[in-house]
Every structure is written in structure tokens, then in C-alpha cells.
Symmetry: C2
Subunit: 431 residues, 2 copies
């Protein structure tokens, strides 16, 4: 096999890292691939921009066609982001007989079925290790290493920005609004972090994992989603007092009625490994019938960790492993529809509730009545000292297992009580 000519779209955070690895580890990569990997074209928005990576003259272009069409590249790495031009880039590359490597979770979560159909049609492959959990090779592990297993559940911390912010809120007792500002200053959060902090990014990654683990096709926009942007420091404190850490978890679970998916701030017992994942790190806990439990932990983003995943895909493509995996996995294959997505209302689990009630007799009985009416039994109950104004008390309740539907109905009833202020805060407790 001759040199593999590599085209790339995007030379930003991740693209720059990929170019660096291709330059600095050329000899090792050639050995591990059985052939040379040569960067022949890189498309960017602005070729005149000064960059910290020096490429041979004539490689960088603002003409996408020079990468995705013609004869200069055998494979195309898409690292521009977004779902419009990026979709076009991938489709054109495939149509022109080029396999694709991408780190773009938004693209796959939104257009996965279309892109994979196009790849099959064109006889090409798509590899996407970097799209979920950055440097943590969870895609390869689900596709290859756990193939003897029926996956039962995935429980994952998939957004480093959120985990960084949550870790700070816990350690320093500072509210979300203060930490997000600091995270932006330190570069742990984007200038516009909306998709991170509202849970969108986690949901998109989770639906990709659900496709791999269960063959389930989920519309990410319909997955129940909570973010950390609405998380109150008070709940962090109350959770801590009970021995819990709040994490933004994405959960995918095989159940008798289909695959349950959800994302939201979740109370995790401090002793659990996921509770101990600090800073901007990611982690994925997998339970499966044969292996039992596995945990993967590592950097979920950043230039070099993400580039490490992209280049692993590139080597897999160069060696020919990507083709074998692509052909046998049949991802997003309309002719082999996967399991149903279960109704979120049927999801079973425990809840943490915080209710602000008037400091007067009978409130507790009314709240307990609302829960009992939905068949929800209380695991623990704590009435705190009145808030500063002396008239309102926070009531912290944890429940035994119930359904999401019952918990939501009970909270609606509680919110309607005259002696209760506002809507209860309701968070899941991890199993």
C-alpha cells in the first residue's frame, strides 16, 4: 500500500493538534499504519491567519473543493464543526470516493443516518472516535472490545466544561454564574457555552453512544435534558450534606420497553467513581452482561487529547481496520432498525426534591400526601432551619424508586399547594 494522502477541513484547536502529530510522529505512524500518512491539503476559512503550526507551502487553501474533490486526498478529516457546511463536506468527500474521519458530534447526532447511508452507498467509511469523550477511546471500545457483551447501561460524564464548573461549585461553594465567568477566562468554557451548559452537547454524545451500544436511533432533540445553567448552589450544598456529589450525567439504559435516555444534573454517592471525576475530565461507566462493569476515564476535550483520537481513526483507516469495523457494525442502518426508545415517563429511579414551604404546621403532611397519592415512598426527609426571612423553610426529600411520570405529577401537585412557594427542585439520584 502506498502513501495515504490526507485532506483536512479545519486547522483550529483540533486540526492544529492533528497536523502536529502527523508532523512530529510521522515515522512511528508510518510504522503503525504500514504506510506513510501525508497531509496534502488543509482547508480553512482564512488561509492568511497566522497559526502556531507550520505547514508546507501550497497545502493550506480556502477552497473546500481542493480537499473534498479531485485527486489530492484519499481520506478527509472534517474538523470545522457545525452541521451545515460540515454535512456538505462529508457528503462530497464520500461521493468522491474518500473515507471520512470526523470529531463532530453535532453533525453525527443530527445527520448520522444520512451520512452513514451515503458512506455505504459510496463504499467508503466514517470514523468518529473523537466525537465523544475526546481522548477517551469509548467508540472503539464499544465497537470492538465489548462485542461479546450485551450492554446494559452507560452512565457518563461527557462534558468537561460542565464537570469543571460543577467541581468548582462543590469545592468552593460558589454559584454557577461566578464559575462560568472564570471558566471562560481560563479557556475551559467557550465564549458561547450555551450548548455545553444546557446539556445539548451531552445529549448529542449520548445518542451517538446509544447507537453504538444498543443500535438505538434517537432524535437528540427529544431526549429529556437538564443542564447545569439552572442548578442552584443550595442543592449542591444539600446534596453534599447527604454524601452526594452532583454531576451532569448522560444515562442510556436497556429496559424491557426500550432504551431509556436522559441527561441532567444527578446526585451521585461520593464513594462512586463517577463522583470523584474532577476538573474537565470525562468518564464513561459501562455495565454489560459478560464483563460486568468497566470504567473509562480521561480528558474529554482539548487539542492534543482530541487529536489523539482523530489520528487513531486515521491509522485505523490507513490499516484497513476502519473498513472491517464499518462493514460489520452497520451503524445507523435503516434496514436493521434497533430497539425502541422508551418513554421517558416510564424511567424508574430515585429522586431528590427540594420544596420551599411556609413555616407552619401541616405543610409536611400536605407534601407527603402529594407523594403518597402517586405511590411514591419517601426515603429520607429533612426540614431545614427557616430561610433568612424566617417564614419559609426548605424541605429536602429523597424518594425510593418511582417513575419519572409519577415524580413529575407529584411535583406538579406540590407546586400547586398554597403553602408551597414556586416549583419543587427535582433531580435524579444515580442508581
Amino acid at each position: 500500500m502506498g502513501t495515504l494522502r490526507v485532506g483536512m477541513v479545519g486547522l483550529g484547536v483540533v486540526g492544529g493538534g492533528v497536523a502536529k502529530i502527523l508532523q512530529e510522529s510521522a515515522a512511528e505512524l508510518a510504522r503503525r499504519s504500514g504506510r506513510r500518512l501525508e497531509l496534502t491539503r488543509v482547508a480553512v476559512r482564512d488561509p492568511a491567519k497566522s497559526r502556531d503550526i507550520a505547514l508546507p507551502a501550497g497545502i493550506v487553501t480556502d477552497d473546500l473543493a481542493k480537499v473534498v474533490e479531485g485527486d489530492a486526498c484519499d481520506v478527509v478529516i472534517e474538523l470545522m464543526g457545525g452541521t451545515t457546511t460540515a454535512r456538505d463536506v462529508v457528503l462530497r468527500a464520500l461521493a468522491n470516493g474518500k473515507s471520512v474521519v470526523t470529531a463532530n458530534k453535532a453533525l453525527l447526532a443530527t445527520h448520522g443516518a444520512e451520512l452513514f447511508a451515503a458512506a455505504r452507498q459510496a463504499g467508503q467509511t466514517i470514523a468518529f472516535e473523537a466525537a465523544v469523550a475526546g481522548g477517551v477511546p469509548i467508540i472503539a471500545n464499544l465497537s470492538q472490545c465489548l462485542t461479546a457483551n450485551r450492554i446494559e447501561s452507560l452512565t457518563a460524564i461527557l462534558n468537561g466544561t460542565c464537570n469543571f464548573i460543577l467541581s468548582k461549585m462543590h469545592a468552593e461553594g460558589v454559584p454557577y454564574s461566578d464559575v462560568i465567568a472564570e471558566a471562560q477566562r481560563l479557556g475551559y468554557a467557550e465564549a458561547d457555552p450555551a450548548m455545553d451548559v444546557d446539556g445539548t452537547d451531552t445529549v448529542q454524545k449520548l445518542t451517538i453512544l446509544a447507537q453504538l451500544a444498543f443500535g438505538a436511533v434517537a432524535d437528540w432533540a427529544t431526549v429529556p435534558r437538564g443542564g447545569i445553567d439552572t442548578l442552584d448552589l443550595a442543592d449542591v450544598r444539600f446534596a453534599q450534606q447527604r454524601g452526594y456529589t452532583i454531576k451532569l450525567l448522560g444515562v442510556a439504559q436497556s429496559t424491557p420497553t426500550g432504551v431509556q435516555l436522559r441527561v441532567g444534573p444527578t446526585l451521585v454517592k461520593n464513594e462512586r467513581q463517577l463522583a470523584q471525576v474532577g476538573g474537565a475530565f470525562n468518564a464513561v461507566r459501562v455495565t454489560a452482561d459478560a464483563v460486568g462493569e468497566l470504567l473509562y476515564y480521561g480528558p474529554g476535550a482539548g487539542r492534543m487529547p482530541t487529536a489523539s483520537a482523530v489520528v487513531a481513526d486515521l491509522v485505523d483507516t490507513a490499516v484497513g481496520r476502519a473498513r472491517l469495523t464499518f462493514d460489520t457494525l452497520g451503524l445507523w442502518d435503516a434496514s436493521a432498525p434497533g430497539p425502541a426508545i422508551a418513554s421517558p415517563a416510564d424511567a424508574i429511579g430515585r429522586y431528590y426534591l427540594r420544596v420551599i414551604g411556609d413555616d407552619q404546621p401541616g405543610v409536611l403532611a400536605q407534601i407527603a400526601g402529594c407523594l403518597a397519592a402517586q405511590g411514591i415512598s419517601i426515603a429520607s426527609f429533612l426540614q431545614h432551619e427557616p430561610l433568612t426571612d424566617g417564614k419559609l423553610v426548605p424541605l429536602i426529600i429523597t424518594t425510593h424508586d418511582t417513575t419519572e411520570g409519577a415524580a413529575a405529577r407529584a411535583c406538579d401537585k406540590i407546586a400547586a399547594l398554597e403553602s408551597v412557594q414556586g416549583k419543587p427542585v427535582r433531580l435524579r439520584i444515580a442508581d
Copy 2:
């Protein structure tokens, strides 16, 4: 591609699990492999033995030749253990044009170079995911997922029996001798656990990982090795008082003079993830130039987790990925000698020392003098209350970075002091 006819040698703990997965997940495995996997021959010592797994008549035999020769099997899974007959089984299978899957770390650590040369010669492959860390897919991760990286270090808990025993010693304050008996009763330790508890098993697995991560060829018998069988409960207590947990760690590190390898009970700061790996679990921490840090955690042994790894290899072999990986990795390839094994005396690190001295003036000065003479500086020093007889005091010292050679020389000098009883206990502190 037609059916892949699978022969197996061994139907014990792991072999029984493999047979179970092949039976119960036949349809899924066929889909994921693109072909049927059919168990056609299983060799055992005693075909008459009653087993908890029912196989079709005529499959089970005590004639190894029916598996490794002739035409009944396309691949051979070696799950009998040992290094003599097992070596013969693998060589004969290869010579007869059959690729091999094995879980046998002792075999690979002892005869890896010979077996891989034979496989190359025969145009066949050897896959061995289950040989290290059981259900944790560390082999595939080092071979494929981290291929864009230069590995810097591996720090690993690779023996579940030892970790189970250590966890009990820490949690319950009971000495090694009591726990090992219980572990055997519960089935966490073999009837003859010598190779586990003296560190041999960990060393063998570590040398296999060192081949994958660095291309280093190490004779496992020459790697510095400590076990838990000589670990004193007193040191567990003193370590705990200082915020450390003692773990049996295997460490492989790239250094300027070659690859450093060692196995031994090691003090790990409680906050570190490796310190929190409990029970019979394994974990591998990898540091590498691009990805930074990754941690893998899961069951290191047991019927189904180990079978999960074996069947993953089998699917890789069926799909053809194993061939591509085998050809490009060039493991144990005499024509591409890897880095040198560094001299253990040059290993740099911190130490925990426990010295039993006479309770009289001047002892401390003498000990400190022995350390200073080797250029070792003291990080912390604690003289405990005299032992029950009132005449001897335990002195606990932690050092700053020094070399193994200097630490060993200082301890020899300390042991020779008249005011000191016996040899100092010396344990590494993890970086």
C-alpha cells in the same frame, strides 16, 4: 466468508464462559463477525467430568490433536494454562494453519518471542486480550486506540487476588495470613496462590504490556518484584496514618536510559484513583504525550469477564481485524529490537522506610546520617511510641526523590547499625 470453526483447549473457568457466550449470543456474534462462529472441538483433560455447560455430542475430546491438527477447526483458543503443553498447543495450531487466541500470560511472558515468530512464519495471528487485566480491554487500547501517542508510563493494578487481600487488610486491619485464608475460602484466591501473592503474575502481565506500549522485550524473571505475602500489617497502618493506601502496582516507565519496570507494594495517595480501586478489580493508568492521562478500570479475572475478552479476540479474528493489527504491530519481532530495559538501580522515586531502632539517644542521627551519605533527603520523619516491650521504637521515614540504588545502599547501612533491629522495610511511594 463462511462459518469460522472454533477449536478450544480447556473448558474450565474461562473456557466454560467462552462456550456459554458462543451458545447464548450466537446470533449477535454472527452479525458482529459477519459470519457464524461455531465451536467444533474442545479438548479437556477428562471428558467424563461433569460440567455446568452442555455441548453437542462429539465435540469434547481428550485428544489435543483433534483440535490443533486436522481440518475440524480454523482457529484455536488456548485456555488450558501452563507453559509446556500450552506452548506445544499454540505452536502446533500455528503450524497447522490455525490462528490462535489465548488468555495465558505466563505463556506469552515466557515464550512470546518464539510464539510470535512462529505465527509470522505460519502466516497466522495470535490474539491475547484476556492475558492481561481480564475483562479490561487494555491490549486493544494500547494496540489500536493509543496509536497516535508515545506512551510515557503505565501504572497498574493487575492482580485481583492481591487487590482483594490488600483492600481487606486496609479496611479491617487484619494481617495477610488471615485474609489469604478467607480469600481462598471465598474463591478469590487459588488453592495455590503463590504466583499471585509473590508478584509473579503481575510481573508477567507487566512485561506483556511493556512489549505493547514500548516494544520492550523484558525477561520477566529479572524484573524487580515484591509481593504482598511479606507485607506487614504495621506498614499498612502507618501508611494509612499518612494518607496513603498500599497497592500492589506494576509500573513501566519510559526513561532516557530505557524502560524501567518494577512490581511491588507501593504507597498511593488516597486521593488518587488507583488508591480507590477496591476488591478484586484491576485498573491501568496510562500517561502518553498526546492524550495525557487515561484510566481503565474493571474486573481483572473471573469466568465471564475473561471470556468477554477472549470472545472479543475471536470476533476480531473472524472479522479480519486481528490480522491487520498483528501485521502492523510487529510484536516480539526480533528484527525490530525495542528500547533497552533500564537498570533497576537507576529508577528514580520516593521511598517509605520503617526502621526499628533502640529507644535511646543518637539513633535518629545515625539513620539520618546513612541517608545523607547517599544524598537522600528526608521528606517526613516520625518516631512512634515504643513497642510493647518498651525498648524498641518504630521510625517512619519518607524520602524525597532518590534512586533505587541509593535507597538500597542506605538501607544496607542502616541495617548494619548496632542500634537498629533487622532490615528496614522499604516500599516505593507512587509518583
